[in-house]
Symmetry: C2
Subunit: 417 residues, 2 copies
């Protein structure tokens, strides 16, 4: 008996016609000896509608509005209703095709999470009942994005948690694979809107996908890739808009071992949601950097690249870091407000981060040289550099983003023939 | 420790402002030593929207559409989401007033029903957890209209089941009372749209209310009154539109013993959803009537009044019965198709049933005489008569409905001063 988990997002189940289409896609995967589970999001727009209702009932920012923990548990009750509706509708659509199917709410399995309402994490999935039903040929339709606590209260995993639900269910069911249907037909070497010659990758490793996802190639939610990596669940990203039954290879996110011909660079990612914060003349005390970044972490500012240089003034140095654009002003205020003896703080917002990613880098030299040469040739100035084992990122003037991405895509031989 | 159950219908929670108002009504009932539970329906319009989605997903009457038992279990999953949303929103609105509150889905108590999806009946309510929470001062907000089976699948009680849920919960919690908030401020001696001098009753017995409800005074759902009667739960019907905290006595539906001054006639009810079926020349065999009414019962035709007279032809008789208007043609077809040797079948649709109801009738003579005299005086012809211990009904030409109701309301001294 093999098992397959399929996941469809809110756009794929946006109305009853699309739900019928999803049912046909699922039907094409039915085969003897295979148990099927389908994880669905709420119909598109529904989650937003429910969030607005919950906020309005809670007072919506007015004086005395219900917020924080007093808001989150009932918010979860309200919002999770959206997925429940979608599971029932898809079960009916599958039955209409003559298939056996039933919905499984997460409290029915149960799928347990911790008690962090509105941002819960999957703790444990009891699969005995759902697996027995699947193995008996009944397609299981489960809601993404939610679970129940030990005390049987409803939780949600935070927005985008449906991918994570699907991967967690696939892991618990020891499924052969988790197929995630999206509005793109796979993972590309870079954003096809910028580079017309971008190619769909047949396979990509978990590590590469993690770098791609967190760097702004928003195909799969980062948490779901982390979980798939940890649990070694092969995840396939494919299109929910291809005719049911038609070729739809997508991209398989899998272990490095399964990728025979490793590319030096598999993809080029970029992010414009960056700001560069420059601290001039930081006192050269032991612990000064720890103090600064500790305060930023306490304030939930997600700091990325960090570069430190000597300052002109004796006993001082300069620190440059990047953070998401929305956090930049706050980050600067924190550093200035902390009276750390920093001479000047500058924020620059018109910057972008461009990265090349590839597991082949580990065993290959000259990857950085190719990058710098390609950028230099186009006259792109590099403001900061950060590297990991399988990635090199550079911070550049945002105006040069497309130019840089195209140049790098060509330089690493990624352009389609 | 006393406990009170309050119930609000879909119109009362139709939008976030109304939910805030319901919260204020609930707040006015908070007092030390009293546990509160609030049962809510889905926001008005929501149940209809969800039913339409479920029907569309199932194929909506098209060839091969999913129907019957294959439809009902997932229909329940879809439709029950509406109440779940309402419970979360009301819990938030109560917290906004500084009160402690939480939602209780029926699977969390649990509230068990039988397995008759889409028309389930409450079997058992485990109240330990919810009662402990209420007694600790946390207002419980529960969804009406639904429950879970032994196998933990979601059921719904059928439309209007929210009143029944509330009464069942009140019975299980041994509540002092179940307050049902509606769009009217109580039970009236008759329809105030017909008789301007109709009076709100302070109290009415279960038996009278049952006759009122089933005869067309649609304030409380019949099933909920039956349950309240069986479990001896006092039910108060009152307005959800009175300013929170303002006088709102409503009508108490209670045991006969609690009504000190019993009226001979408490109210006048009417129903226009009636048709009269006349069978002329039915063979005078033993079992002929049993055969006819057995077939009608098998076809779910709800036969009400039955009158039998001698026919002109020897060895034959005439039978007249009434049934809901929508069933009349089917009823006639069944009788004709059964080849029972009936000479003629006539259906008359423009009829109405007018009834006077009162527990005082039991000990009072002359009640029928007053009725017939009052109708005769207005020239209203009586086509059929049916009586029970606490009710007299007459079938009349529908055109005379208002005239008859007014005449009877005056004749039994029910007009307000």
């Amino acid at each position: 008996m093999s098992r397959l988990v399929m996941k469809f997002g809110g756009t794929s189940v946006g109305d009853v016609d699309r739900i019928a289409r999803v049912a046909r896609i699922v039907a094409a995967e039915v085969k003897p000896g295979r148990g099927l589970a389908v994880v669905v999001s709420a119909m598109s727009g529904e989650t937003d509608r429910l969030i607005q209702l919950a906020r309005a009932a809670a007072g919506d920012g007015a004086n005395g509005a219900v917020t924080g923990a007093a808001f989150d548990d009932e918010y979860d009750v309200v919002v999770s209703a959206g997925e429940q509706v979608a599971t029932g509708l898809l079960a009916l659509a599958l039955r209409r095709l003559g298939l056996r199917a039933r919905s499984w709410q997460n409290w029915q399995m149960p799928l347990r999470t911790d008690g962090a309402h509105a941002k819960a994490r999957v703790a444990e999935i009891e699969t005995r009942a759902i697996a027995a039903s699947m193995d008996a040929g009944v397609i299981a339709v489960a809601p993404g994005f939610q679970g129940v606590t030990e005390a049987n209260r409803i939780t949600t995993l935070g927005r985008g948690g449906s991918d994570t639900s699907a991967v967690a269910l696939a892991a618990a069911l020891k499924a052969e694979r988790c197929d995630i249907y999206t509005d793109v037909d796979g993972v590309y070497t870079t954003d096809p809107r910028i580079v017309a010659k971008a190619r769909r990758l047949d396979k990509i490793s978990y590590e590469e996908m993690l770098e791609m996802a967190s760097l702004g190639a928003k195909v799969l939610q980062t948490r779901s890739v982390e979980l798939a990596f940890a649990q070694r669940v092969p995840v396939r990203v494919l299109s929910s808009f291809v005719e049911p039954g038609a070729p739809n290879p997508g991209t398989l996110v899998c272990s490095e071992d399964e990728i025979v011909e490793k590319q030096v660079v598999s993809g080029v990612a970029y992010s414009r949601d960056e700001a560069k914060v420059t601290l001039l003349g930081v006192k050269d005390d032991i612990g000064a950097a720890a103090d600064i970044f500790g305060r930023l972490a306490d304030a939930n500012v997600n700091v990325d690249m960090i570069v430190q240089t000597e300052a002109r003034r004796e006993g001082r140095r300069n620190i440059v870091f990047t953070c998401p654009d929305r956090d930049a002003t706050r980050a600067a205020d924190i550093v200035e407000g902390a009276k750390l003896g920093v001479d000047e703080v500058h924020v620059r917002r018109d910057v972008a981060k461009v990265s090349v990613i590839g597991i082949g880098m580990r065993s290959q030299v000259g990857v950085a040289r190719t990058m710098f040469a390609a950028l230099a040739q186009k006259g792109v100035n590099i403001e900061a550099i950060a590297t990991s084992e399988i990635k090199i990122s550079v911070l550049i003037d945002a105006a040069y983003t497309e130019l840089a991405v195209r140049a790098l895509h060509t330089a690493y031989g990624l352009d389609a023939a």
